[in-house]
Amino acid sequence: MVEEVIVVENLQAAYGENVILSDVSFQVKRGEIFAIVGGSGCGKSTLLKYLIGLMRPHVGRIIVEGVDMATADDETINAHRKRFGVLFQSGGLIGSMTLAENIALPLKEVKKIPPFFLAQLIRAKLSMVNLAGYENHYPAELSGGMRKRAGLARAMALDPAILFFDEPTAGLDPVTAREIYDLISTINKGMETTMVIVTHDLELIFRLAHEVILLHSEEKGIIAYGTPKQLAEFEADRRVMNFFQRKSP
């Protein structure tokens, strides 16, 4: 039986009185790559904030690996967040720390790791994102693509069950973007990590995603839900066609 790791039911996302999304429902299965797509201002990043527990739902439910993000107390959510990894749009690395120190941050939660093994583990994480040797570099010394990859290494530090990505390829050149696609694919296949990706990169969607939801700002919700192939062939709604038939790789 396929296990659902994230269940969203009738979620309403809002900033104060300003409702961004309403009646949003979907499920993410274990080990799948799930893409949340849509135009600018449709609420993709807001939805991500709800999924990772930075915002709490007042209407609807979000259950992530059995924990109800609406009703769980802060301590439970904090403990639960250790099962997530999040790659933020600009990497989210701490500027005053080297890459090694950034990656060691979550690892310090695990007690008694011998220093030599910690160093090896950091090196292994960096090599997974093709940044072996960069442990003593500061984020400011890296390019945007390298910062994103380093952010991914930190997000993967504790081998999370779910990895969330906010626009992983935004602002990257095609070659670096493809490196990110390969990385996502390798980690997904190798570790069977569930991945939720907020993006509007069609190539990423068609190459990697198993399921996609398309959000629309006027509808304040999902206007299409299915596999990338299904959505690419969807002709009943012009907005869906406009989005998915811009370019089919």
């Binding site: 500027g95 690892l107 997974m128 072996a132 960069y134 003593n136 504790l158 081998d159």
Partner: protein, 371 residues
């Protein structure tokens, strides 16, 4: 806490079962180290048939066994590795693990090296400040000759932020300083029956020194730091580059309005601080020393001349230019990210306060010789 894995040694075989995940890795490493230390033979078989799951730390721990075995001239044979474990193990790039870092962490430098670095840094700082002053000396006359090039709206906004918004804190601190000075001096002067001199002591100190100095220090803390942070953040966000590419001169666009606004409001704030400082002394004089209002005020202004007020305002004007200039200069020096903005902000405040005190000392000597 129970371990997720089980390990059993049978002669030259190690049988592993369960799940080898990060939290168990430290104890696994200890166990394996113990086993390897005791081994005398030249081969080792590790059977992973019942090992269901590893994470990347677990996979790395398995590669560590190979590494340690090689050091002890032991040949390791892996048996029964399932696909799930193999997939994770394949994510570990064994060659990359032993490569040296591309650059080493900076080591501690010797005292002489650190002193040399500091001297170079100070010299460079002096050079950049001189360059900035030069740019200001060119930009200010340009703006005066082309008043339409000035952003008057921005000047007014900065006057409000630096001046009007600082009124409560400047007033309160000046009042308290006047109060403390009057109270502390009265304790001594009362013994000599010279209570009446409290008024002139407070008046002279506040008007000649503390008024301009305290105001300048408050403005440096509030506004100098804010100028550095604002311009620094604009540099980080490439806003200054955007201004330059649109044909705007960043110093004229960003620094000059701040410098003009600060040089207008700081002398006014100084007058306001003087008023509140004297008021603080007055409160102690009337309540604690039984001096009447008119006597106190008469005594206060007996030791203070108009020239003292003018020179204090001139000092305040100089301090204002130093605060705004240093704040903007430190902001323009920002390279990097959030940390650099923080450093620029701290440096703006520290440098401003140092220069305020240095300028005050220079004024003291100059005014002494001017009589």
């Amino acid at each position: 806490m129970t371990k997720g894995y089980r390990m059993e040694q049978k002669a030259d075989r190690i049988l592993m079962a369960g799940e080898l995940l990060l939290p168990d890795v430290p104890s696994f490493l200890e166990e394996i180290e113990g086993i390897l230390k005791q081994k005398n033979s030249t081969s080792l078989e590790i059977n992973l048939t019942d090992l269901k799951k590893v994470d990347s730390a677990g996979a790395l721990a398995l590669t560590h066994i190979e590494e340690e075995s090689r050091k002890r001239s032991l040949v390791v044979a892996w048996k029964g590795m399932n696909d799930d474990v193999r997939k994770v193990l394949n994510l570990i790039d064994r060659q990359a693990l032993n490569l040296p870092p591309l650059h080493e962490i900076e080591k501690r430098v010797s005292f002489f090296e650190a002193t040399g670095d500091l001297c170079v840094k100070i010299a460079h700082d002096f050079y950049t400040i001189l360059t900035f002053v030069g740019e200001l000396l060119v930009s200010i006359p340009y703006c005066l000759l082309h008043p339409r090039s000035l952003r008057w709206g921005d000047i007014l906004v900065n006057m409000r932020r630096t001046g009007a918004d600082a009124l409560p804190i400047v007033g309160l601190l000046s009042l308290l300083i006047g109060l403390i000075m009057a109270f502390m001096s009265s304790l001594q002067l009362r013994q000599l029956g010279a209570n009446i001199y409290v008024a002139s002591l407070v008046g002279i100190a506040i008007v000649k020194e503390l008024g301009p100095m305290m105001t300048a220090i408050i403005v440096a803390g509030r506004s100098g730091s804010s100028f550095a942070a604002e311009i620094g953040t604009m540099i980080v966000n490439e806003e200054v580059d955007a201004l330059t590419t649109m044909g705007f001169h960043p110093i004229r666009f960003l620094a000059i309005p701040k410098i003009i606004a600060t040089s207008i409001v700081v002398p006014l704030l100084t007058l306001y601080a003087m008023m509140f400082g004297i008021l603080g002394g007055l409160i102690v004089g009337i309540i604690g020393l039984d001096i009447t209002l008119t006597t106190y005020l008469k005594e206060s202004f007996r030791g203070v001349e108009l020239w003292d007020v003018i020179t204090s305002l001139l000092k305040a004007f100089t301090f204002a230019i130093l605060i705004a200039g240093i704040g903007c200069h430190r902001g323009f020096q920002v390279v990097g990210g959030a940390e650099a903005v923080g450093e620029a902000t701290t440096s703006a405040v520290v440098t401003s306060i140092f220069l305020i005190i240095a300028a005050d000392a220079a004024y003291a000597v100059l005014l002494h010789y001017l009589g």
